[in-house]
Symmetry: C2
Subunit: 243 residues, 2 copies
């Protein structure tokens, strides 16, 4: 098989609980791919693109990826989440998604919405998460408009999600919702405490950030049709990787 | 208007965050109705049926209920959750639901699934939450089968949810999922600490219960297509009412 059909896989783990967005709480396996076109200041998976996790990248075929999912998750899973990095950089993911579907396994995927792939149409729960000002990134609205249009044309199940750290981020989130009012929208309290290793010490901080976001969103008439969520897995596992 | 067209309303509050199940995180208003055909041992809203909240019940028309929703929530909401007690005891709710829809407002409703109402077909997100053994209640499976069949016939958006306190409850939950494998299923960690008034003191307990449930569900091959969720609002507000 040609090398470019292989997938740069950073980690495979689970089954665990999906901690974010439209699939929050779902029992799922994770496949994390390497490589990203962004470099968000607060990225919680920077090892996928900053070189620090380079040694852990393995080039797997779709079949090998599924074999490892089965070795890790046994009989206990029926859903896989593909995350990154930005998995939308990888046209070859279509084959993995098809093979999972053939086995009756549901597939969720998260991407910032900076690139289109035709396999977006086949994802069961697709989350587009444009990045707010605090990330240091710039959103290309033309690209995002095009992705949203294409998904709407095929009536796909997808949502938008924006992580919010501060007032400027919230303004950005409000703009996202105004631009795409018909798309289910999730605002998520950002975790600015990536160094803490003790989950118990993180909880009061995460709770405070979530309450801050709730207080801002509740009285806001521009944010009517929204979900406000924490990053649930950080409440349980803190910054621990691979859970 | 005839008295029997009026709704026994216990409380109206919001906008706040939906803390449970398929609508978790959704910005919503709450209408809590009085009266229940059950008396679950651990009910967190026993004041709706045990007589202790009798003074707070007001008999409101659909129109009066919406007026109060608007007075309380202003322009800031686009979604209402109807909870109880068991709102499925009230045929007259159909009118409220229709009037909310006419205003473009989405409606979620939660009931144990012990009674059918034709307005079930009009709910945007309906949660059926059959009660496990720890509640002290008995499930009438014939009634629940009938409700699930009727909802499936009309392809309605609904889910099942079971609160889990112990191993017997988890066995019950597994049975529910086995009986209705095609219905999205949510298992929720039960809150057995209804007396605690300090949210901060509750958190370690709630976290421990949620982790316990995750540990049980993750390796279980019979619980593949499930969501595992906490009662999110208790993490933020503890047992506080009206938030």
């Amino acid at each position: 098989m040609a090398a470019n059909k292989r997938i740069p896989v950073m980690e495979i783990f689970g089954p665990t609980v999906q901690g974010e967005g439209m699939v929050i709480g779902r029992k799922t396996m994770f496949v994390r791919t390497a490589g990203c076109d962004y470099s968000c200041s607060w990225c919680d998976s920077a090892f996928t693109w900053d070189g620090s996790g380079k040694e852990d990248i393995r080039m797997l075929t779709a079949h090998e990826t599924i074999e490892e999912l089965e070795k890790t998750g046994g009989e206990a899973f029926g859903h896989v989440t593909i995350s990154g990095g930005n998995p939308a950089l990888l046209p070859q993911l279509g084959e993995l998604i098809d093979q999972l579907h053939e086995r009756g396994i549901g597939v969720a995927l998260e991407t910032q919405g900076s690139r289109w792939q035709d396999w977006f149409w086949t994802i069961d729960e697709l989350t587009l998460s444009p990045k707010p000002p605090s990330s240091g990134m710039k959103t290309d609205w033309t690209v995002l408009d095009d992705i949203v249009d294409k998904l709407n044309e095929h009536e796909r199940c997808f949502s938008l999600k924006t992580v919010v750290f501060d007032e400027a981020d919230l303004e950005y989130a409000t703009y996202v919702h105004r631009r795409y009012p018909q798309v289910p929208f999730y605002v998520q309290a950002g975790n600015g405490n990536l160094q803490e290793t003790e989950p118990q010490r993180m909880l009061p901080y995460l709770l405070e950030r979530y309450e801050w976001l709730i207080e801002r969103v509740m009285p806001n008439p521009e944010l009517k049709r929204v979900h406000v969520l924490p990053q649930l897995h950080t409440w349980v596992w803190g910054n621990k990787k691979g859970v």
